[in-house]
């Protein structure tokens, strides 16, 4: 729907503008065409109002040939063609109106003298209308882009919140406290170590959560802490291998891997009698950062979907932050559960201070 026809008050304002155009046309006709002021006014005002409706079509012309995708020749030919056509129609209309006025005796001047003025003015007006149409659509685009941007931001914040909420898993916290309770009598020094580990982990995850991007090395350090705590609980059943390779400086959203590694422990190793290895491997090419988390899975409990494992959260968070250029995939094969995260490689160069804040 045409934006001016959509609302009554907009149309009224638009027509009011055209009264000014009418006055302009009248003065042109009086000055250049040699008409009397009264004759010029009688011809100009009704014609302007009629042309106001003709010029509404300029908006469709602007929309059908977007500046971004149409070449200059096409733009110019379309605009000039449409303007000439509209103005031509206007001249015919003017001629009819002139005839009526001549018959009524209001106007005596021959039409031939004013026709070129009306045609030229009509072309200019139509071109102006097309230009306004382009400006309006550009404005519209900017607004839509702004809205999309806002939406993406809201989605990313929501994902962030969800991951933060999920990351202090009550099971993890209560079980760790229970372990400390056990250690206080059996191994007081161990109990102290565990409280320090837990304190460090909580403090670190809270401060990381506030940053926008962190170097992978910090995320991996947090995983080390987390897994150290889980090792106190699970003992020898949990083995850990973290290899950041040369990807330590690559930037990642904070706590991206935390829920994935948590799954690897609570839904993976913890369900396997003999336990197993949780491995985190990162590789960084100039354009892409790839992180793979692997853990043994219980063959009796196949998990084909990642729903309920928080992986859907990871996926929506990546989508909100990177769009289509990031992905997370998971699969189980031969008793191993494997999650692969791929995201654009960005390195910590100039804004190193920001990420540490």
């Amino acid at each position: 729907m045409h934006p001016l026809l959509a609302r009554g008050e907009r149309l009224a304002l638009y027509l009011a503008l055209w009264i000014i155009v009418g006055a302009l046309l009248a003065s042109l006709l009086a000055g250049e065409g040699g008409l009397s002021t009264r004759a010029a006014a009688v011809i100009a005002f009704p014609l302007s109002l009629a042309y106001a409706f003709v010029c509404l079509s300029a908006w469709y012309v602007a929309r059908s040939t977007p500046i971004a995708t149409s070449g200059l020749p096409r733009l110019l030919s379309t605009a000039l063609g449409a303007a000439a056509l509209s103005s031509g129609a206007w001249v015919i209309l003017a001629r009819g109106w002139h005839n009526v006025l001549v018959r009524w005796g209001d106007v005596r001047a021959p039409f031939g003298e004013v026709a070129p003025i009306i045609f030229g003015f009509g072309v200019l007006l139509y071109l102006l209308s097309i230009a306004v149409g382009y400006i309006a659509s550009a404005f519209e685009h900017a607004r839509a882009a702004e809205r999309r941007e806002l939406q993406a931001q809201v989605m990313s914040k929501e994902a962030e919140l969800r991951s933060l909420r999920a990351q202090i898993d009550p099971h993890f916290l209560f079980n760790s406290l229970h372990s400390i309770s056990a250690l206080t009598a059996a191994d007081p020094a161990g109990a102290r170590r565990m409280t320090v580990l837990l304190g460090d982990f909580l403090r670190e995850s809270l401060s990381l959560g506030a940053a926008e991007r962190i170097p992978l090395s910090r995320e991996l350090a947090l995983l080390h802490r987390y897994l150290a705590i889980e090792r106190v609980r699970l003992g020898e059943r949990l083995q850990v291998a973290i290899d950041g390779g040369d990807a330590g400086a690559c930037l990642v959203p904070p706590l991206l891997l935390q829920p994935v590694v948590e799954n690897a422990v609570t839904h993976g190793v913890a369900h396997v009698l003999e336990g197993g290895n949780v491995t985190v491997t990162a590789t960084c090419s100039p354009v892409q950062l790839t992180i793979v988390v692997k853990n043994p899975a219980d063959a009796d409990r196949p998990r084909k979907t990642g729903t309920g494992l928080g992986l859907a959260n990871v996926r929506s968070r990546l989508a909100a932050l990177y769009g289509r250029s990031a992905s997370v995939n998971w699969a189980e094969q031969d008793g191993t559960w494997r999650v692969e995260i791929v995201l654009p490689a960005t390195r910590d160069v100039q804004d190193g201070d920001k990420t540490n804040g």
């Binding site: 209560f174 229970h178 913890a270 369900h271 396997v272 409990r301």
Partner: protein, 249 residues
């Protein structure tokens, strides 16, 4: 504390430190003897079957078999105090069915209370409402992917796609899978409820059939049919059973 002299308990938890806590707290109850400590569900089923303890302290989140599955396999044969970190479904169910549970971390006082309450319950010979608890405490989830069957102290885990059919036998049901028979103390209605209704159909009062095993269904007499399985076995199909089957095929 003369009556504590014969009180035997089994402690089940996959975390060694969690078992340490119970061991420590039980030192204050000299008449209570830990007859077994188990790190997973299989060990728990074996220990309880072989040792018939008076009470079991049972963790919920464990490898292979979780606490609920252990309970399902052992049925009413042993009183239980659950120990758990946090499980919203379970907690609600425990409250509803007045089963005692200890929330980790718990202190010695709370532990003693639970122990006393369990002993009182045992003396009053109150049965544990296992079925109701099972139904309420398991998170609402997809149909079972496996069936657990206890054979003495041994546990069989049968993936559901290995099951050919289930047959009612007096007070038991018999799972036919991989050419073997597995007896379980369960009702046909319960079997029907746990298996995926898009893969298993109750074709007859006494039979729940895996539809993938069907080769064809033949009319046998007026209103009665037989299903012929891929391996040639024949099962009766009732009129209502045939209606259910037709809806799926």
């Amino acid at each position: 504390m003369a009556d504590e002299a014969s009180f035997r308990v089994v402690v089940v938890d996959d975390e060694p430190l969690a078992r340490t806590v119970i061991r420590e707290y039980l030192k204050a109850h000299p008449g209570v003897e830990i007859v077994a400590e188990c790190g997973n569900g299989f060990e728990a089923v074996k220990a309880v079957t072989e040792l018939s303890p008076d009470l079991m302290f049972l963790d919920i989140q464990m490898p292979k078999l979780d606490g609920f599955e252990v309970l399902e396999l052992l049925g009413r044969s042993v009183p239980v105090v659950f120990t758990t970190a946090f499980d919203q479904y379970a907690l609600r169910a425990f409250d509803v069915h007045a089963v005692d549970y200890l929330l980790k971390p718990f202190d010695a006082t709370r532990f003693s209370e639970a122990l006393m309450r369990a002993r009182a319950r045992i003396q009053a010979a109150e049965a544990l409402p296992v079925d109701a608890l099972m139904a309420d405490a398991r998170p609402r989830q997809a149909p079972a992917e496996r069936v657990l069957i206890r054979d003495g102290s041994q546990v069989h885990v049968i993936p559901v796609d290995r099951i050919d059919y289930v047959e009612a036998q007096d007070d038991y049901v018999c799972f036919k899978a991989d050419g073997k028979d597995y007896l379980k103390d369960q009702t046909m209605a319960a079997v029907e409820a746990t298996l995926d209704p898009t893969r298993f159909v109750r074709v007859h009062r006494s039979y729940v059939l895996n539809i993938e095993r069907i080769a064809r269904v033949e009319l046998y007499a007026k209103d009665s049919r037989i299903a012929i399985l891929r391996d040639g076995r024949r099962l009766p199909v009732s009129r209502a059973g045939y209606a259910r089957l037709s809806k799926l095929l």
